[in-house]
């Protein structure tokens, strides 16, 4: 109780201080181009959309089994599919609109970077982790994003930030408890994935001097496709046995609560940090250099 009172007092004080400053139209920054170092984090609970399984054993094709919707729904009821992403990227962009007297600010950038991904399947019925796939190699990550801002006045504004990133890769760092290693057989396992993450934040912003706080709903969609391939070879006669499981997933929820904090501490540098909170957690931190 005591701590809450102190926080609220401080907040009231800060708001009061800021409110006493009249909005004066600040001069737009002259710098038009930007370079950005960005770290992103995503911890998403996904839902299975489709799963197909194909087996080719010793020349005998067992066909492709596709789970129907009832089976998909059943799996989604007791299996957790988690995607954990860590992305480090560089972005280059430019300020597209930032004119004196214009309440609009538009910025766009392209992103390129690397990501590390961990995909986990957890069976809540048997209470086991059936599958963990790590992208042992850093996978490439590409993206494009925009920032649209409208300043009602010097303090308040509205921000719309659509972004999309795409990552892909192949990895052999697979921990599979569902398909154990077989004795007297050589095997190779690899997982090839495609992942796209798109989000649009609609944030209300409040600026004070060099700081801007934004909050609001975020809408997002994470989609991934995994192709998991196991090839086993008999040591004795060289016969091969191949299984391929292809699953597509998407994020379970599409809306979160987003907050963002920007600190433009000089003409050239901006520090920004943000987070999205729902069943999934996302976070972003970036340093922007304007030039």
């Amino acid at each position: 109780m005591k701590e809450l009172m102190i926080f609220l007092t401080g907040l009231a004080f800060a708001v009061n201080v800021c409110a006493q400053n009249n909005y004066q139209e600040e001069q737009p920054f002259k710098e038009k181009f930007l370079l950005e170092l960005n770290y992103s984090f995503l911890d998403a609970d996904l839902k299975l959309l489709t799963m197909t399984k194909h087996s080719l054993w010793d020349g005998q094709d067992f066909g492709t089994l596709e789970l129907d919707q009832d089976e998909i729904d059943s799996l989604n009821s007791f299996v957790d599919y988690k995607d954990l992403l860590h992305g480090l990227s560089l972005a280059a962009g430019m300020v597209l609109l930032d004119k004196p007297g214009n309440k609009w600010y538009i910025e766009g950038h392209l992103t390129i970077g690397l990501t590390r991904r961990e995909y986990t399947v957890i069976n809540n019925k048997s209470k086991t982790t059936d599958l963990i796939i790590n992208s042992e190699n850093i996978s490439p990550w590409y993206g494009i994003g925009f920032n649209f801002r409208y300043h009602f006045d010097a303090k308040w504004g509205l921000a719309l930030s659509p972004h999309t990133v795409y990552s892909f890769g192949t990895t052999k760092a697979i921990d599979d408890n569902l398909n154990p290693v077989v004795e007297f057989m050589d095997e190779t396992r690899k997982n090839t994935f495609d992942l796209s993450y798109t989000w649009v934040n609609l944030l209300a912003s409040f600026a004070h001097k060099k700081f801007t706080i934004m909050a609001g709903p975020g809408f997002y969609l994470c989609y991934s496709r995994n192709e998991y391939n196991i090839v086993r070879t008999q040591q004795e006669d060289g016969q091969t046995y191949e299984d391929t499981v292809i699953s597509t997933l998407k994020s379970g929820t599409f809306i979160n609560g987003s907050i963002q904090f920007d600190w433009r501490f000089n003409d050239h540098f901006l520090f920004s940090a943000g987070a999205g909170l729902s069943n999934d957690i996302s976070a972003t931190a970036r340093i922007v250099y304007f030039l």
Binding site: T64, I230, Y241, T244
Partner: protein, 956 residues
């Protein structure tokens, strides 16, 4: 505290029993996977419907029963009624094939209503699903295959139908019966069955008391069905029945192993043994959703096992995990146990392995939950070579399961190996002892040919042998027949892998007096191969008493080898499992076998081959054969004769050579035999049964007969040499199998061999051919043949024209009875110009015996081809001639010279006239008979363009 003590106790128990609960199960790959596809005749997928699919091993074959939906006809209320039948399949060539009995693989239960079978009453008026109570299962009892299932009527829910089906011992029919009850709900139902000695034990689950019990039955041989015997309780844990197996311990006591479970939480393995007692153990693998167990190891194809020199009897418990995986499948596990030979010892757990299955073939739930079945199968190795340690039979253990859509999958594991017992293989020749081994093997032999053995002779043997010692140049009668049969056999046979078994053994020896060798159709895995076998048989007959007493039969014999097998654990190539023995029959080729037969037996029937008058060889003694000779106009290959005065060497040589001739014969055997497959005595699965066998062999015999006959006679001085006869004559006859209706063929069980026989002749007369001469080229108008008899009277002549020097039923082109005439003019035989023909004459002696002439070739002049189409027409009036003149009218087509000749019956020209430059057209003349005596004459009119011969009778 209490919970702590329980946990400690459990840990101690586990440690003492050596079970590793903490470590992960190992993995195992199936040796083979099966995936169902279109199986039924209508091209529909056969699906695992509810819990209605059952598997059973029966005589080494793997059987599957599948309840299948079939749309029925409209019934009274005008609605379609679904109907369900179990269909039966057997596993062959890597797939399940319909097991046809009387042309169908459908089991029909229920009752007849308006000419159609219904399991439920047809007036229900609804589409309904099959409502199974419990699981369908199949088992072997009293050497028969059985199927059981329990159904609840979905509309009239108080109506329950228990379905039983029994396959007859001979496999020719299914006996399907139902027991109907009208109690609701069902209190109990059967969950499994096993044969226990003479009894059938069925296991029953009681839904009220939640316990298992046993209902025993006995087999009523009169009724050919089971009858209820008794009922008693049994302490089995769990509420679901997996399966049961029985085995025999070292003292031959019946013991049982059960799998039961509480899905998806716990499983139990229970044991029942007269010595070790009754006990249960919890199942320490992954908590099961369903369990089943089967005898046999699953490690037959894997190395790296530890050696257990004293145990070989393993069973495997298959289970599906109770918890579903994150890919909508269940995991399949295999727990291995072995049975120590010590009767008091309990079966021991070995390990748990997770079976890796194709991702596209997941075990899943079907309508009523999980299902899992197991069975065994026997499959042959490659038998082309008998190599110890490699050759033999593979025993496979199979686990079957469905996916959600009812597709049927099977994981096959190689189990123990059957390997040949060293030095135990025997050939079909060794098995030819009818008394010991029955007649099955011998009945597969084909009688290709028969020979009379040594040509007949009549010799005083004591005198002969006393005069002709090895030091003295022998006087010999040499009959040498070379290449009497050179048979090339091209055989195409279906190489059936077959199993046999020992029906009865009084001792533990491999062979016994009661042993019979049977074939089975356990395997349809046939190969077709062909081999060419050329054999050349030369029989040289020495001049000794023994050579007269034996004829020979020539057999084509399939070379069959019987190999004995015992089962060896996969890890142990030195210690076979006790009480295990199997036989395998292998066809490896065809060979020719010559068998000597007493000349007094059929078809020779010659009691005294060396009688002074050779009576046994004469036609009047071998009357049946001679009758066939006459009826079929069979001439001898060549006459052999010899006359011997009292002194001086006499030599008569006759050489007969013939061109080669082919005889084609095809045989196939459809053989109905008993079969049996007995798995090791330790696991009492096998039983003897009757079954059909298909062993087919197609043999084409290209037989060359080179009848080169050499006869030589030298240095015979006098009758004292031992030769009894002063005159001697015999013919060699060749009875070809497909050219005549020979008397002996009906007596040889359908065999049709050729037969070379000798007949001694008593006719001293012989026929000498007069004209035309050998190899003559004749014109059409010169087709007049004449002969005479020498050294005796002959009559009833028959004239033959043949395409072959050997006149016989297959070669005769023309035959004419001439009576006592010794000439014939051919009026109705059209010869092909340029082609060689043979003419021969047969005459009959007063004693009814025939005498043949040689055969003599002739050729029709090719230039006469044109003239053959232009005959001369002629008429004689009066005929018979009553005066000294006759009127002759004839027509010629072209101008030319015309000759008129009158010949007597001996062909001698009596009158001849000639008229030149006769114009074409009709001419009439008076012909003066110039005092011809009454009799039969031939009038020949010939012109440049043709000729005609007319018979003229001159009367008194």
């Amino acid at each position: 505290m209490k919970k702590y003590m329980i946990c400690c106790g459990l840990i101690v128990f586990l440690i003492l029993n050596g079970k590793d609960l903490i470590s992960q199960p190992q993995t195992i790959f199936p040796d083979q996977m099966f995936q169902s596809h279109q199986l039924d005749s209508e091209g529909k997928d056969v699906v695992w419907l509810k819990n209605g699919t059952a598997f059973c091993t029966y005589n080494g074959d793997l059987f599957m029963f599948v309840w299948t939906e079939e749309n029925g006809n409209s019934h009274d209320q005008g609605l379609l009624a679904k109907r369900y039948y179990p269909y039966v399949y057997s596993y062959m060539n890597g797939d399940f094939q319909p097991y046809l009995v009387n042309g169908s693989n459908k089991l029909v239960f229920g009752y007849l209503h308006e000419d159609d079978w219904y399991l439920y009453h047809p007036d229900l008026g609804h589409e309904y699903d099959l409502n199974l109570i419990g699981k369908a299962f199949a088992f072997v009892y009293n050497d028969r295959l059985w199927f059981w299932s329990y159904i609840q009527n979905p509309i009239r829910t108080q109506w329950f139908i228990e379905c039983w089906a029994q396959l007859s011992v001979d496999g020719t029919s299914w006996d399907c019966r139902i027991n109907e009850t009208f109690d609701a709900p069902p209190v109990s139902y059967k969950v499994g069955a096993v044969q226990a000695g003479e009894a059938l034990k069925t296991f029953v689950w009681n839904t009220q008391s939640n316990t298992f019990s046993v209902e025993e039955f006995r087999y009523d041989n009169q009724a050919q069905w089971i009858s209820y015997h008794s009922k008693y309780g049994i302490s089995l844990p769990g509420n679901m029945f997996g399966s049961v197996i029985n085995y025999r311990d070292a003292n031959n006591n019946d013991c049982y192993v059960y799998s039961t479970y509480i899905p998806p939480a716990m499983g139990f393995i229970s044991f029942e043994s007269p010595v070790a007692g009754w006990y249960s153990e919890p199942f320490f693998s992954v908590p099961p959703g369903v369990m089943t167990l089967i005898q046999g190891s699953i490690r037959g194809n894997r190395s790296g096992e530890t050696v257990h020199p004293e145990d070989g009897n393993r069973f495997t418990v298959f289970s599906l995990s109770g918890a579903e995986n994150s890919d909508k499948s269940y995991s399949l596990f295999a727990d291995e146990w072995f049975i120590p030979p010590d009767t008091a010892a309990r079966p021991q757990y070995v390990r748990t392995s997770q079976v890796v299955l194709p991702a596209a073939c997941p075990p899943q739930q079907i309508d009523k939950g999980q299902d899992l079945r197991s069975a065994t199968l026997m499959v042959p190795w490659d038998f082309t070579k008998e190599v110890a340690g490699i050759d033999g039979l593979k025993q496979q253990v199979c686990a079957f399961y469905p996916d959600k859509k009812g597709h049927i999958y099977g994981a096959f594991f190689q189990s123990d190996n059957w390997r040949p017992v060293p030095n135990s293989s025997v050939t079909s020749m060794d098995l030819a002892n009818d008394e010991l081994y029955g007649k099955e093997i011998r009945s597969l032999w084909t009688l290709v040919g028969i020979t009379d053995g040594a040509p007949p002779c009549s010799i005083n043997w004591p005198v002969w042998t006393s005069l002709h010692t090895p030091e003295v140049e022998p006087t010999e009668l040499k009959f040498k027949t070379e290449n009497i049969s050179k048979t090339e056999v091209v055989s195409t046979y279906e190489d059936s892998y077959s199993l046999g078994f020992k029906i009865e053994t009084k001792e533990e020896e491999v062979m016994s007096m009661d042993e019979s060798f049977k074939y089975s159709k356990a395997f349809e895995n046939k190969e077709t191969s062909s081999s060419t076998v050329k054999t050349s048989l030369t029989t040289n007959f020495g001049l000794n008493e023994e050579s007269q007493e034996l004829g020979c039969r020539i057999w084509s014999v399939p070379q069959i080898r019987r190999i004995s097998y015992q089962v060896y654990p996969w890890y142990d190539s030195l210690h076979p499992v006790i009480n295990s023995l199997q036989y395998q029959f292998r066809t490896t080729g065809i060979f020719t076998y010559v068998e000597n037969i007493e000349i007094s037996e059929f078809p020779y029937l010659i009691d005294e081959p060396n009688a002074a008058d050779l009576a046994g060889w004469k036609p009047d003694h071998r009357t049946a054969m001679y009758y066939s000779v006459l009826e079929n106009d069979l001439s001898p290959l060549g006459p052999v004769s010899w006359s011997h005065p009292n002194s001086g060497p006499v030599f008569s040589f006759s050489e007969v050579t013939t061109t080669t001739t082919s005889v084609t014969d095809k045989n196939s055997y459809e053989y109905d035999l008993s079969m049996g497959v007995r798995l090791p005595e330790v696991f009492d699965l096998g039983a003897s049964m009757n079954d059909e066998v298909s062993y087919s062999t197609e043999n084409t015999y290209e037989t060359e007969f080179g009848t080169e006959l050499e006869i030589s006679l030298s240095n015979l001085i006098s009758k004292q040499d031992g030769i009894n006869l002063s005159y001697y004559d015999f013919g060699i006859y060749w009875f070809k199998p497909n050219e005549g209706d020979w008397w002996y063929l009906d007596s040889l069980d359908g065999q049709k061999p050729w037969y070379i026989a000798y007949m001694v002749g008593t006719v001293h007369s012989r026929i000498v051919l007069l004209s035309p001469g050998p190899g003559s080229t004749l014109r059409v108008m010169e087709m007049l043949f004449r002969w005479k008899a020498e050294e005796g009277e002959l009559g009833d002549y028959s004239f033959f024209i043949s395409t072959d020097p050997h006149v016989g039923p297959a070669t005769i082109l023309y035959e004419s009875y001439c009576g006592d005439q010794t000439a014939i003019s051919l009026e109705d035989f059209t010869a092909e110009p340029g082609k060689t023909y043979y003419w021969a004459v047969r005459g009959m002696a007063p004693n009814g015996e025939a005498a043949w002439s040689e055969s003599r070739p002739f050729i029709l002049n090719a230039a006469d081809e044109a003239t053959q189409a232009v005959p001369i027409k002629a008429e004689i009036y009066p005929n018979p001639a009553t005066g000294s003149e006759i009127y002759l009218t004839y027509e010629i087509k072209e101008e030319g010279t015309v000759y008129r000749e009158i010949l007597d019956i001996k062909g001698q020209v009596l009158l001849q006239t000639k008229q030149s430059c006769r114009s074409a057209g009709v001419h009439s003349e008076i012909l003066d008979l110039q005092g011809l005596t009454p009799g039969v004459y031939l009038l020949v009119i010939r012109a440049d363009t043709g000729r005609v011969v007319k018979k003229l009778v001159v009367g008194n």
